[in-house]
């Protein structure tokens, strides 16, 4: 199932509100796309960790 455009927009907007980069939003959107299409699952712990490593790393530090 493709991600509804409004969901993508919502993530991008929320990320911008929190002062985060488009790249950060893209990582969340990419993960959601994998989950909604069935290509990934939340009970796959290795996959979850990989995605979260990337997302945590992409968070912009307030001091930057």
């Amino acid at each position: 199932m493709t991600l509804d455009p409004k969901i993508r927009e919502a993530v991008e907007s929320a990320a911008a509100t929190e002062g985060q980069t488009p790249a950060f939003a893209k990582k969340i959107v990419a993960w959601l796309e994998e989950l909604t299409s069935g290509n990934d699952r939340l009970d796959d712990n290795d996959s979850v960790r990989r995605h979260l490593d990337l997302i945590y790393e992409a968070v912009k530090d307030k001091s930057n």
Binding site: M1, T2, D4, K6, I7, E9, A10, V11, S13, A14, A15, T17, E18, Q20, F24, A25, I28, W31, L32, L35, T36, S37, G38, L42, V48, R49, L52, I55, Y56, V59, D61, K62
Partner: protein, 663 residues
């Protein structure tokens, strides 16, 4: 992953409707896109629909249906004491069978679920289907006019939840949980200065989280109860006041009394606000305090504090070659200046004391008693305004009581209103408990959600400190905020688009009607009206549901009782044109009178061979039975006949209608 769910067939035995089996499977294995099941009145349409909903949602499981309910579904001529309703589904190509087994003597119903792995006792569809096959969601795709009306009632529907389920917005909640888990794993694997301290801090975080979850649920319920009671109260009060206003003179007096109460209340609020403001000044509470402040200022005045720097002046002077009086400074005199500088106040101290003097002069003045007197006057004024508010309220109550005395039917209404007001008050008190910002009690005795959230944040900070993961916690908080906000924005964004598109469809279905959806909350909220006629509500339901299902990539069957019955002839063809676009499987229960202006447009709009016409009737009319038995595609049970075919469908009850027309 998109869900594709279709109904392959259902079967009923021993139940109030005729024993029958209706299949939607085509010879090539595909499922018929559109099926009309024509069942005359009294054949058991309502029963079949109810059973279908129960089978798909598991709503009769776990003793939800009581003995009387179950017994009421028994066929009168059933001697076995047993009955079965079974529905076979195709889910993403796999078969799933849900069977309800009725034991009328014991008054129980048991579910069985059959999937590819075998039979399970109970209602156990695959987990991915549970959000659709639930008592809350099934009414969105198996519905009738009554359910269409429920779309407008927040007590009976949750349209927003349907949007969350269809568009899988729950993923946001799940991601937040995983983000939290990730952080907790990081904190558990980092080193900590002291193990005991770490355990204690971790336990506190956990305990606060659990308490918050409990309180948030309770608060949501309290708020929902409050909103519900408020809406109910408003409706009842409006009706009550309208009834009183019908007695014209009384109505005018009541309006005036209401206005007086409103004005008196506003005056009290303004005066209370101003008085509270004054009470924040200690000099207003106590003349003695004011006097002491004035005495302090007088002492400071006598001390003759310098306007500017004191100690710093001497320290700077000590660095000069020459004193202000002109004498040269040597090491000895410089040391003396520095030593004596310590006897003087620093610039910060002097500035503070000067500021205190100024504030006392401005705020307290020279008269110790005027503030106390002013506050006393305000308090007296406030008491007087409160008295006037009470008097206005008494007058209003008296007028209302007169109205009730003249119309005894209003007494009950008044009692209901009083009871609702008590309920509202109780709900409000409960909400206020969860909104309380008092931060003095322990965690278990604190109910203020924001207070506990702050404590949790502090506790997490402390935990993060001790495990040296504070920075990671900040990142976690950012991610969670983004996900939380995104979930709300996504839901609101999708709701708004669905609202707009549904309104476009309503416009095309009912071009001369102003009914429109304003917003989607728990239910559909209409613009400027609370409800509509049966036809309007049904058109609205079609427009909303078709928009909802079209936008979502999930494909669910759409089962409707009487799709066109309440609609007038101008609207029927438009609904008929809409149906092929609604979903990949549309099943409708119809009666013969719905064919007019509906069947032909539907046949024209549907793809060739995608429309299946089934007639199911109870045995008893010999001519009909004879006619049915001559058909090629039919099935017969002890008390029912099911015929597949266009001509039989179109002609069913036609002679009867012709005779009626002749009369």
């Amino acid at each position: 992953m998109a869900v594709v769910l279709k109904i392959a067939k259902w079967k009923a035995e021993g139940l109030r409707c005729p024993d029958h089996e209706v299949s939607f499977e085509l010879p090539d294995g595909d499922i018929s896109r559109i099926t009309l099941v024509q069942m005359p009145n009294g054949t058991g349409k309502t029963t079949t629909l109810e059973l279908l909903r129960a089978a798909l949602s598991g709503s009769a499981a776990n003793d939800v249906w009581d003995r009387d309910k179950i017994k009421s579904l028994k066929k009168r001529t059933n001697t076995s004491g047993k009955g079965t309703f079974q529905v076979v589904l195709l889910y993403n190509g796999s078969r799933l069978t849900i069977t309800m087994e009725f034991d009328f003597e014991e008054g129980i119903v048991r579910y069985k679920t059959t999937v590819h792995s075998g039979i399970k006792e109970g209602f156990h569809p695959p987990s991915v289907l549970l959000k659709f096959l639930s008592p809350d969601f099934v009414p969105f795709f198996v519905f009738d006019g009554e359910l269409a009306e429920r779309l407008l009632n927040r007590e009976h529907t949750n349209a927003q939840q349907a949007i969350e389920d269809l568009f899988q917005l729950k993923f946001f909640t799940n991601l937040i949980t995983r983000v939290n888990d990730y952080w907790q794993q990081q904190t558990s694997s980092s080193g900590a200065a002291e193990e005991k301290s770490l355990t204690r801090r971790r336990n506190r975080v956990q305990s606060l989280k659990e308490r918050l979850e409990l309180l948030r649920k309770a608060y949501t319920k309290a708020r929902d109860d409050y909103e519900q009671a408020k809406q109910e109260l408003l409706k009842k009060k409006n009706r009550f006041n309208a009834a009183i206003a019908e007695q014209r003179e009384l109505g005018e007096r009541l309006r005036k009394a209401d206005a007086d109460v409103h004005e008196a209340r506003a005056n009290v609020q303004t005066a209370a606000h101003e008085t509270l403001g004054r009470m924040r000044s200690p000099q207003a509470i106590s003349a003695t305090f004011a006097e002491e402040m004035i005495t302090l200022k007088a002492s400071l005045d006598r001390a003759k504090l310098p306007e500017s720097t004191a100690k710093e002046f001497f320290e700077d002077l000590a660095q000069e070659a020459v004193c202000v009086c002109g004498r040269p400074l040597d090491d000895e005199t410089r040391k003396a200046v520095r030593d004596r500088a310590k006897l003087y106040l620093g610039s910060d101290d002097v500035a503070l004391l000067n500021a205190i003097k100024q504030d006392i002069g401005t705020l307290v003045g020279t008269e110790a008693t005027i503030h106390e007197m002013d506050l006393s006057n305000r308090l007296n004024e406030l008491k007087s305004l409160i008295r006037r508010e009470a008097e206005a309220q008494t007058i209003r109550d008296r007028v209302q009581a007169e109205g009730v005395a003249d119309n005894p039917a209003l007494e009950d209404a008044q009692r209901e209103i009083d009871s609702l007001e008590e309920q509202l008050e109780a709900s409000l008190t409960l909400c206020e408990k969860y909104e309380d910002m008092t931060d003095t009690a322990g965690d278990d005795d604190t109910y203020g959600i924001k207070v506990l959230e702050r404590r949790l944040n502090d506790a997490e900070d402390k935990l993060a400190e001790i495990t040296q993961t504070l920075f990671l916690k900040e990142k976690r908080d950012v991610i969670i905020r983004v996900l939380s906000q995104a979930q709300v924005k996504a839901r609101d964004g999708i709701s708004k688009v669905i609202c707009e598109e549904a309104n476009d469809r309503i416009c095309s279905l009912l071009p001369h009607n102003a009914i429109r959806i304003e917003t989607i909350n728990r239910c559909l909220v209409l613009q400027g009206q609370e409800g509509g006629s049966v036809g309007e509500t049904l058109s609205l339901a079609y427009a909303f549901l078709s928009t909802l299902f079209n936008r979502s990539e999930h494909q669910l069957p759409f089962v409707v009782d009487s799709p066109a019955g309440p609609l007038d002839f101008a609207v029927r063809p438009k609904v008929a044109e809409l149906i092929p676009k609604l979903t990949d499987q549309f099943i409708a229960f119809t009666i013969s009178s719905e064919r007019d202006k509906f069947l032909l447009p539907l046949e024209r709009a549907a793809e060739p061979k995608s429309l299946r016409l089934v007639t199911l009737f109870r045995k008893g009319a010999k001519d009909l039975e004879k006619s049915a038995r001559s058909e090629q595609s039919k099935s017969e049970t002890s008390d029912g006949i099911c015929v597949l075919g266009r001509e039989f469908f179109r002609n069913f009850h036609l002679d009867e209608e012709a005779n009626n027309d002749a009369v």
